[in-house]
Symmetry: C2
Subunit: 179 residues, 2 copies
């Protein structure tokens, strides 16, 4: 097993595939499917996330649809926390709250059941990728509107140039591989 | 911890919420979010799936978008297998294969990267729900078109009256809670 965060980043970086010009010209897409396919890499990634969050007593991990479901549920399992899905509009069947946020073109909506987290509970919001931060910020706002405490955000990949951190100020931000 | 499969089913059934008339009149939707919110219930569910698959040496677990990502990635972690996402059309960035299947109204398409599994590897296909079996069957066909061996399908909930098992003949089928 790797000894420190730099080792972890080096190992996992090799498992993230660069797809040039996807979804459009000039963008390099970071494809995490090779990482997921490798059971050891996935375990190293989740262990590292858990280690960097070990100072908190986490009650719930919120995973953002769809790839955030993968890392969020694994992190919840590892931390011994409950898992809560934050879903795209119209996917959740029970009484819910919703939050709009801006994407490059137009708006998106994220939803959460209104019994998803308890007041005063400690929550981590997880997604595979931190880009502009709009999606994660919307998920955090949903948690807080239910009275939960967002203690941290965790991502596998962070695209630093897009400045997503600035939308998540005042919270701990864990990202494993940065570009 | 529960001692047998009947105990497991009884415990988990209490964590599955019935939503009447969703998504339309006359349908009872089985909502697994209370199960996911409960760390113990989730662990019991995954442990039971893993136990019922323990006779196999599983190389990869395929999780079907989106809720299959949750249980699929947890099962892969538990079994020490790699995780492979089967996604809706247009979501995967790399070279891929696709399969159409019929839903109640019209068709859907499921896709998988063409390097998702190796030839002769042993694969379990996971989703939260077995209904008509169309989605799971399409995921299995994708695996087999890449030369992988689908040794089993695993579901949290099975709706028996919809007869989905008949689309998955010749394979082991694990379902934890049946209605």
């Amino acid at each position: 097993m790797p000894h420190n965060s730099a080792d972890v980043e080096r190992i996992l970086r090799e498992k993230i595939r660069a797809i040039p010009d996807y979804p459009k010209r000039g963008i390099i897409f970071r494809d995490i499917t090779p990482l997921l396919k490798d059971k050891n890499a996935t375990k190293i990634c989740i262990d590292e996330m858990a280690k960097r969050l070990s100072r908190y007593k986490i009650d719930y991990v919120v995973g953002i649809e769809a790839r955030g479901f993968i890392f969020g549920s694994l992190l919840a399992y590892k931390l011994g926390a409950g898992f809560v899905p934050a879903r795209k509009k119209g996917k959740l069947p029970y009484s819910k709250i919703s939050r709009d946020y801006a994407l490059e073109y137009g708006n998106e909506t994220l939803e959460m059941h209104d019994d998803a987290v308890e007041r005063q509970s400690n929550v981590v919001v997880v997604d595979d990728l931190l880009a502009t931060g709009g999606t994660a910020s919307a998920a955090g706002a949903l948690v807080e509107s239910l009275g939960g405490r967002v203690v941290a955000y965790a991502f596998v990949v962070e695209l630093k140039d897009l400045g997503g951190r600035s939308k998540l100020t005042g919270k701990d931000i864990v990202s494993i591989v940065t570009y």
